[in-house]
Symmetry: C2
Subunit: 318 residues, 2 copies
Amino acid sequence: MKLKDLYVGLDLGGTFTKYAVGTADGFLLYHNKKRSMSDKGQSEIFNNIFALIEELQEKAKELQGEIKAIGFGSPGAINFDEGRLIGSTPNIKSWTDADIRGNIESKFNLPTWVDNDANVMVFAEARQGAAKGEKNVTALTLGTGIGGGVLINNQVYRGDHFAGSELGHMSINFNGPRCDCGGIGCIEQYASAPAMERNYEKKLSMAKKSIPNDLSTVTIFDRAAEGEKEAIDTIDDTAIYLGTALANIANIFNPAVIVIGGGVSAAGEVFIDKIDAEMRRRAMPPSVRHLRVVAAKLGNSAGMIGAISLAAEMYAKR
Amino acid sequence: MKLKDLYVGLDLGGTFTKYAVGTADGFLLYHNKKRSMSDKGQSEIFNNIFALIEELQEKAKELQGEIKAIGFGSPGAINFDEGRLIGSTPNIKSWTDADIRGNIESKFNLPTWVDNDANVMVFAEARQGAAKGEKNVTALTLGTGIGGGVLINNQVYRGDHFAGSELGHMSINFNGPRCDCGGIGCIEQYASAPAMERNYEKKLSMAKKSIPNDLSTVTIFDRAAEGEKEAIDTIDDTAIYLGTALANIANIFNPAVIVIGGGVSAAGEVFIDKIDAEMRRRAMPPSVRHLRVVAAKLGNSAGMIGAISLAAEMYAKR
């Protein structure tokens, strides 16, 4: 009997690792998540990952399938040619210089490809999600930070030394606040979830209103829907900041689609439409004429689906 | 006798058209320039171009060579697949929707490729100039406007609909001045030659100094070299604006080289070094670790050399 070709996808996060086994077209047959143990040493984190892959190997057997390759998304800058972390990543201290491909391949004898998590996300959305079938796609993930991924001529663009597509660290104000990255006026300082919350708190204080204890961007969007001025103004400010960044992306890349993902984007259509309108006010008309701005479609599964799609595509190209 | 393979390159400008015949490696055997007649109708401009190509055909014969293909750089957005202008371009009024490839090919029966002039310039610098041998290159031309060209994975990046790489229209201030393009805070409003001159005039006025009649960026660089405070401050401001734009380019593209061309860049090494230092203060360290910022090398010949290199490369790939 011929076994079905299957692929493993892992999405390592600061808190959870999501992992799945699926088909080449990114259909997940089984998926799960477990804690990443990101406060532990590197070898413990690897042993944890090995156990997840073994779990997926069992599942593949039950499904009468054969695992052909492994895809892996990790935070941090990744040397894609070597499947290795470049330097460190803030939320997993011991992960510095981790030889992800080397460790997984020597344990499982399966070809493995590793990429940065934002690259995996844009790949997932371009192959199976909101930008399916498009060749030139830019993705922004709005959350605690702002991440970026770029697909050019149907391939993930990684930069000359794997340090490109840091769209969250585009400055929209040469004289703005200092960013954690060392830059000045980065969009992350204006439109990340913490930045939105800071802006909203400031507006509440100025209006002499009390600040809720459990303040999050969800609070802001809920209160704006109820008509509260400070919440509406915060969202309008954020749309101006993001509209500026998107106009830059449009003028620079002229992509077919800009995909907006991450927690803040879950606020939905109205927010995306506001950003889109602000972008069109600022961008060069030919750069946005055919451009669509859309919400990410694959949500929390994007990392797993992208890792599986990447593994399948690279395996086929070997 | 076997004739030598030669290629024609034309660089259409608002005032002059530069034209040359050369070899596949961008070596110019003969070059010249004539007025573009850009105030005339489209058919007159084409007839003018035809005469230049006929002149080059004569030269090719004298050189015992055979012209294999034609490359053409034009201002404006160009549909590279069709070799045709998209819409209009401000300095050649009648050039709207010009079918450049169609007209040249039907007259000369030679395969012709047409690209935007900034794309041709980055191609020239990457193949034969300051970024020779590099695969990921970004070019900025500083002059009356600010143009941009992007080479990614060894190919010119043109955008999903040929409206990308407008690097001069990257906003560095979401709350900045309105740009001619409709945008807000574009780098062109801060660091083009006219923007530098405006900034310098303002500083002179504030210091109650007289404003020279023949003010140009050359005046500013000359006076800065003599130690004049207002001129030095103008250059320092410009370095901050351009450093911000270059930090964005570094974080977004992580190119191997950023090439600075155009009139303002002729100010030389000291100016480039200032911009470079300001970029490094603002960019993410991994994005600039291997990055070089260099002055363009091919100067006024870049358009002809790029058009010839493009024609030769596309001809070989047919």
